[in-house]
Symmetry: C2
Subunit: 434 residues, 2 copies
């Protein structure tokens, strides 16, 4: 028989057991922040109808990235983000839900991109959304940002502090209207501002001049050079949107959020955003660029329903962020190498019944324990195993221990060992590990 | 634009938010049992190379069930169980792992079967395995069963008690050898015994007679009619295997497992088992048939490695079991309807900043809270929302509350309400919900 390859497909993530423990701890911490903030978990199918996945206005690039296949006459594919499924779910369950509906997702999504550094074909993304029927106060936009800030805060021991950059689609709409940008000029300016961080200043300026002329370029540049609020009195719409930004800042401060900055170059590409947009960055790891972000959208479910659902949502690029930090050895894994609180070593097959008894007692009292049950193997071999699995304590079961209903506990760091009753073992190991 | 369908594809599971909370609680409880027993979580890719998924000896039926597709020149597909990925992972990471290697998986698997009641195209399965290099003591078989028993025990409030039926492949191999069954007779008898529970006694007996003749049929039937241990002295191999079964029973009892029975009709179809096999049934829900099971296998990684890896493993059919109980309304969801500890209602937009402050305080102290931030909506409308989300307490923020840095707490069951300091609110809500 020809042996099959043992490596995963290129572009797919495969963690070591220790990395997996850290990954799971991080996703649990974030999930708990979302639950604490009253978001309900949705766990939607990874496979959707092709017609659900592909929208009328989707780009050809997106279409080629979707994994599509057929069973019988049904064309289907793997979801490429959490939003399409959410929109379908909300439209289909209107009567089971109450609004504003608050959901979070922790899901694998799939993109058939050409694999490259930091781009995966299967990865976890965490989504949170608050969805209203027809209207939704922008107060919720502040709540989403605060929740995301708390989520990153809950894992700061791994990722360090974050900085939040907040933009406003509505500011630019008001600005373009005031400056009498035509549709092409608005679109060109929007798209260049979206790329501003990736271009040097001269390239940015020259590209603007090419698209919208010198005067309008100077207007746009002044937004970044001066404070944006000098535009406040130019038009009613500009006044209103700048007021909204000021209010928004106060709300964030009410939530105790200080690590933000208003940065009107934040656009967040996707077409569907209509109000506040934001991106999160890791202060200590700027090379990762945005590690999450989101914004307000005016019509979530247009593909599925005639009713209008407005919302504000955000996504954390969980796999991308964590795997990049793993790859750069930026996360100290040493604290997580221990698989269990104790190893249980058994001196001979005649001791197994008693050892299983002790094992059940330990586990029943919350002490996680791994037994070595090839009990006729030599003590040295068993000790090697205990060393490999990095436990702090080893519980040794020999003939005397069984006769006296005791066990010998060895501290693997100090080398000290002591024989004691099982209830004392439990006490010692519970103290030692909590 | 033509509206897309809002229902998931047939054969795919979509839970309500309340069902999802129960499902997540159940899978967390079982995961914790596995972790407490020293199993490490593996979260392997859902997509594998086609050549990895399809073995040389796999049936055409299996092949048609796999979702296969291509990207570029690569043929790939969705995993149909957790075992293939585990075998690939172990073979590819031999130097990163220590043996016996203990892993658990909580994963979605995919089968393109024709959808029917209780059969899904995407479902969660939980796998645990202990894998040794070349040898592995059968003591671990008892440990796997005990761990699975604890797993079901941890969710007994939802599924009730279990009964474990334990069979032995080796008993039958020894029995067929002693009875001089030829290869065809062994295979026919094996396959009929595997189906025994689905046939009535006469059909079972007649099918046996057709395949292996009257004398051998009477031999087989006597195993079920009398105690199997009357065969103990017939051959050395029978003596050894029956001794092993007796030892195994003692080990289970050492683990405190009493809810088992030796039932030699348990065969567990799949070809790869070589020793003990077992199935778990819910005492209160016999119509679900087996809800989990497993056994010992002699060669896990033959598709990937020349080295021999022996193991014992088990799987819990999580989605199938839980969704069947949901469908039959056998799980009381009423305890889980509350999404959060409290709703926070805000009397007007001028109160929002203070309300967000209170919200951050509550959440920071572990009180989960959902605000109603369309703050200009009428009090009645806001109260309707609090009623719908089924919270026990509502925290009301009005002008007086802001002025005095207080909040009014309403108990939604009794209707009592009281104005108090924020620290008292936290105290009351923490007491009330824990």
């Amino acid at each position: 028989m020809i042996l099959r390859p043992t490596q995963p497909l290129s572009g797919f993530i495969e963690l070591t057991p220790v990395q997996q423990r850290v990954f799971d701890l991080i996703s649990t911490r974030i999930s708990n922040v979302f639950k604490n903030s009253g978001f309900m978990r949705l766990d939607l199918p990874a496979i959707e109808r092709a017609e659900v996945l592909i929208g009328d206005q989707d780009s050809d690039e997106l279409k080629t990235q979707i994994y599509l296949f057929e069973k019988g006459d049904t064309k289907m594919g793997l979801r490429y983000d959490g939003t399409v499924g959410l929109a379908r779910y909300v439209s289909g369950h209107v009567n089971d839900l109450f609004f504003p509906f608050r959901a979070f997702q922790l899901n694998r999504v799939y993109r058939g991109e050409r694999p490259q550094r930091g781009r995966y074909r299967e990865f976890y993304q965490m989504d949170i959304d608050i969805i209203g029927e027809q209207t939704l106060s922008t107060n919720y936009d502040a709540e989403i940002i605060a929740t995301l800030a708390n989520a990153y805060g809950s894992i700061s021991e791994f990722v360090g502090p974050t900085i939040i950059k907040i933009g406003s689609r509505e500011f630019w709409n008001a600005f373009f209207e005031y400056g009498e940008f035509d549709e092409n000029e608005s679109r060109a300016a929007f798209s260049l501002i979206d790329k501003k961080d990736k271009l040097n200043f001269d390239d940015f300026r020259n590209a603007l001049i090419d698209s919208i002329g010198k005067d309008k370029t100077e207007m746009v540049l002044s937004v970044f050079e001066n404070k944006y609020d000098i535009w406040a009195d130019k038009s009613e719409r500009l006044t209103a949107t700048i007021d909204d930004i000021k209010t928004f800042e106060k709300q964030l401060e009410s939530f105790g959020i200080k690590n933000y900055t208003i940065d009107l170059s934040i656009m967040r590409g996707h077409a569907y955003y209509t109000g506040i947009v934001f991106e999160f960055y890791l202060t200590d790891h700027p090379e990762l660029n945005s590690v999450g972000g989101g914004g307000r959208y005016a019509d979530l479910c247009s593909r599925f329903s005639k009713n209008q659902y407005v919302g504000v949502g955000a996504a954390i690029g969980l796999s991308r962020m964590i795997v990049a930090l793993f790859d750069q050895n930026k996360i100290d894994l040493s604290r997580f190498e221990s698989v269990a609180d104790a190893a249980v070593l058994v001196m001979g097959n005649d001791r197994v019944a008693y050892a299983l008894n002790v094992l059940a007692e330990l586990r029943g009292h919350g002490v996680s324990a791994i037994p070595y049950l090839d009990a006729d193997k030599k003590f040295k071999k068993q000790m090697e195993f205990a060393n490999k699995i990095n436990v702090k304590y080893t519980v040794i079961i020999g003939e005397d221990e069984e006769a006296n209903k005791t066990a010998t506990v060895k501290n693997m760091e100090s080398g000290d060992q002591e024989t004691m009753s099982i209830s004392d073992v439990i006490k010692k190991l519970s103290d030692g590990v909590r």
